[in-house]
């Protein structure tokens, strides 16, 4: 697995750093909603960069469809960066039209982000793990998939696991142009 090859750090250092970042954002904006949005934005910026690292090191090959993309994110990408494997569940809306855009849910049971974390009452609606949504959105956008991500469930909200929905909105085809013209 790719994770065994990469240089690693103590997960506590990462978890505590992320926690301190969230606290800092909350202090600066004094608004739970704004902080959730800001976390997603930070994640997006990270995703835009992290995709290069992933493509360079993971040897993942090309995905044939969106379903496979979900599997690769769950089984390879999360493992490579956070050291955990994630479940990918494909969702098919009942009575959806035949040309409906595909979607999947990422189910994170063992989420390193939420170690030692508890949301105080006045922040109970904070999407603490929104960073992950942003990372997935940013990374996929760089490989031509515009997606919408949403944090559906979170252990910090009392759910059993963290769950992120990823639904495809548009496939962006790269435009090539001749330099000569």
């Amino acid at each position: 697995v790719a994770f065994s090859k990469v240089e690693k750090v103590n997960a506590e250092l990462f978890t505590l750093t992320y926690g301190a970042v969230v606290v800092q954002l909350l202090k600066d904006s004094e608004d739970v909603e704004q902080t959730s949005i800001q976390l997603e934005k930070m994640g997006y910026n990270i995703g835009v960069r992290i995709i290069d690292e992933f493509l360079a090191k993971a040897n993942a090959g090309t995905c044939t469809d969106f379903k496979e993309t979900g599997e690769v994110i769950a089984k390879v990408a999360f493992r490579m960066f956070l050291g955990v494997t994630v479940d990918c569940r494909h969702v098919v809306e009942p009575n959806a039209p035949a040309d409906a855009m595909p979607a999947f849910h990422l189910i994170i049971v063992d989420n390193p982000l939420v170690d030692f974390v508890e949301l105080p009452e006045h922040c109970s609606t904070l999407a603490y793990c929104n960073l992950l949504c942003g990372v997935v959105r940013g990374a996929l956008e760089m490989v031509g998939m515009r997606v919408e991500t949403k944090l559906l469930k979170d252990t910090l909200w009392g759910d059993e696991h963290t769950e992120i929905s990823v639904s495809l909105k548009e496939l962006v085809h790269e435009q090539y142009r001749d330099d000569d013209e």
């Binding site: 994770f3 240089e7 997960a11 750093t17 606290v23």
Partner: protein, 169 residues
């Protein structure tokens, strides 16, 4: 939470990406460089303090300041950066100089176009990132009841010197 038998790890690059984004975010949110650096240092401080507390719960108290500093150079650094501090010097009057020949965040730093032309500028850009480990050291020492000020100096990238000045009680 019970500490797991196997030390949990994440890829070092994951932390790098978070830190890069954090520096950019702080720079965008605060108009002056000194404010954003203070915030970065403060984040490092809170992380360092918590980490050191967790790592030393089952340990006998340190005999003196030097003992605590040595712990920071060896075990604490090992746990956080997977290596030890390369050199430790002291004047035996409360000033300690820790030299790390390869600080992760400084080693992988890609200088901006301006910095590429100008070595001094590259060092000042690197110094921004060094505020995080400065905070980590200050936080760890605070967890051991030692009040200190920590500053960083980058003479030749990616090496970094941390000067710890202990506030005498």
């Amino acid at each position: 939470m019970a500490s797991p038998a196997v030390q949990r790890e994440v890829a070092a690059t994951t932390l790098d990406f978070l830190l890069i984004e954090l520096v950019a975010q702080l720079a965008a949110a605060h108009s002056t460089a000194s404010t954003s650096q203070l915030k970065l240092e403060a984040i490092g401080f809170s992380v360092g303090q918590k980490l050191a507390e967790r790592q030393t719960t089952a340990r006998t108290p340190f005999a003196d300041t030097l003992d605590a500093i040595k712990y920071v150079c060896k075990e604490f650094w090992m746990d956080t950066f997977l290596k030890q501090v390369d050199n430790l010097r002291t004047n035996h009057r409360g000033v300690f100089v820790l030299t790390d020949n390869r600080v992760r965040w400084l080693a992988t730093l890609s200088p901006s176009a301006r910095a590429a032309r100008d070595g001094a500028h590259a060092r000042s850009e690197a110094l921004v990132f060094a505020h995080f480990p400065c905070g980590l050291i200050r936080g760890a020492l605070a967890a051991f009841g030692i009040e200190a000020s920590v500053s960083a100096e980058v003479s030749a990238l990616p090496a970094c010197q941390f000067t710890v000045k202990v506030v005498q009680p």
